[in-house]
């Protein structure tokens, strides 16, 4: 077969590139969550199908791939003993691919005691007005901004050093990630959030990283805590549902990719592949 094939979709969008690659070639910019990976292990072992392929991009300065999305899926596959898995390969320089941040809505956190705890962990915490929060994040003066439900706000100054900032963010999240429940959220309106999360105690906001910083993290062997970077990926492939037995088989990697190519072509021929140009809501994620 051709080894590089693109189908032209009716929308003229180039068809996504799917490949089976060795897991060892994929490098993380986020530390996976062991709890979520463990839950996935159970599901994958039972289903024996991988629903959504992780998303990677070729590394610029080294061989292999940078993982954009799917740290827990890859960790679960590794725990199950797989050495390779299907991924969607994207162009990280695509201007339509945007990088933002998730924020954390933390429940039942006692604000004054928490601020003291942060300082005890060696983090500088400075007061700020609610109106100034957006600004210090946008200018990257802060590596995190904090706001209680009664709108008492503070920020942790950035150091202009990526390693130090990653360390500060990791220390900050460590103070609540195991002791308090929290949710990743993409909005910052406290009143709206409280409707969904009645126990909301504090909102932790993070700045948007640059793509070049993500590449730098990997080059420096640094990892952000999981669930912080939020890649908005155009043309994300969902519901591929690939059987795991193929990945486990004795077929060579080249043959596994031949199989994947045949699988994809048949799905297209049988009109099972649909492109949605508009944003969609998925109710069984």
């Amino acid at each position: 077969m051709t080894g590089q094939f693109f189908f032209q979709m009716p929308s003229s969008k180039p068809f996504p590139l799917l490949r089976i690659v060795p897991i060892e070639q994929i490098r993380f910019h986020e530390a996976p969550e062991t709890d979520r990976a463990a839950r996935l292990v159970e599901r994958l072992a039972e289903d024996r199908h991988l629903l959504n392929p992780p998303i990677v991009t070729p590394l610029q300065q080294a061989q292999g791939f940078l993982l954009i999305d799917g740290a827990n899926r890859i960790s679960a596959m590794r725990l199950l003993g797989y050495h390779c898995l299907p991924v969607q390969i994207i162009d990280y320089d695509d201007p339509a691919l945007r990088l933002g941040s998730w924020h954390h809505a933390v429940m039942r956190l006692p604000w004054p005691a928490w601020i003291e705890q942060l300082r005890a962990h060696g983090l500088a915490v400075e007061s700020i007005s609610p109106e100034e929060m957006e600004g210090v994040l946008a200018t990257r003066e802060a590596c995190a901004a904090l706001c209680s439900v009664d709108r008492t706000c503070a920020f942790i100054p950035a150091s202009n050093n990526l390693r130090a900032d990653v360390h500060a963010i990791t220390s900050l999240i460590d103070t609540y990630k195991k002791s308090h429940s929290f949710e990743r959220v993409d909005q910052t309106n406290l009143a709206d959030l409280r409707r969904f999360y009645p126990d909301l105690a504090a909102l932790v906001l993070f700045p948007a990283f640059e793509k070049s910083e993500i590449m730098q993290l990997v080059a420096d062997h640094l990892k952000l805590p999981t669930g912080l970077t939020r890649h908005s990926i155009p043309g994300r492939v969902l519901r591929v549902n690939i059987q795991l037995d193929v990945l486990r088989s004795d077929l060579s990697l080249e043959d596994k990719n031949e199989w994947l190519e045949a699988f994809v072509r048949i799905r297209v021929q049988e009109r099972h592949v649909r492109f949605y140009p508009e944003p969609v809501f998925i109710f069984d994620d």
């Binding site: 077969m1 051709t2 059987q243 037995d245 193929v246 486990r248 088989s249 004795d250 077929l251 043959d255 031949e258 199989w259 045949a262 699988f263 072509r265 048949i266 021929q269």
Partner: protein, 143 residues
Amino acid sequence: MPVQIPNQQQVIAELNKALGWELRAQAMYAHYAAYLKGLEMLTLKSHFEEEATESFGHAAKVRDIIATLGGEAVTTRDPAPIAHSEDWKTMLEEALKTEQAAAGLYKKILPMVESYPPFGHTIIHIMKDEMDAVVEVEALLGH
């Protein structure tokens, strides 16, 4: 008027190899299904019978392509001997070799017929079936 594609005679020759291999696979699976014993008969008999049926279906599709290309389809199976065995593991090992070889044949044919999509679609389906069969037999063998 036969459909014309590049390297017509070479394609027909390769398709005839695949057809002969399918006819051999049919005979092999039917033979093994008859010689299964004990508990393995419960699980493997239907598997072998299904594989024989699948080979019959593949042979029909390949024969149709050969006919459309104006070629003469072979009527006898590939001469590679079918090892007689009453041991289920040996049967599966022989099945694995057969499916691997079949996948290899179709892998070779696919780029030769891709310029004519109806043939390309048929061959890619068959090739994936053969690769799925390899994976399935490997799993049955506990690889």
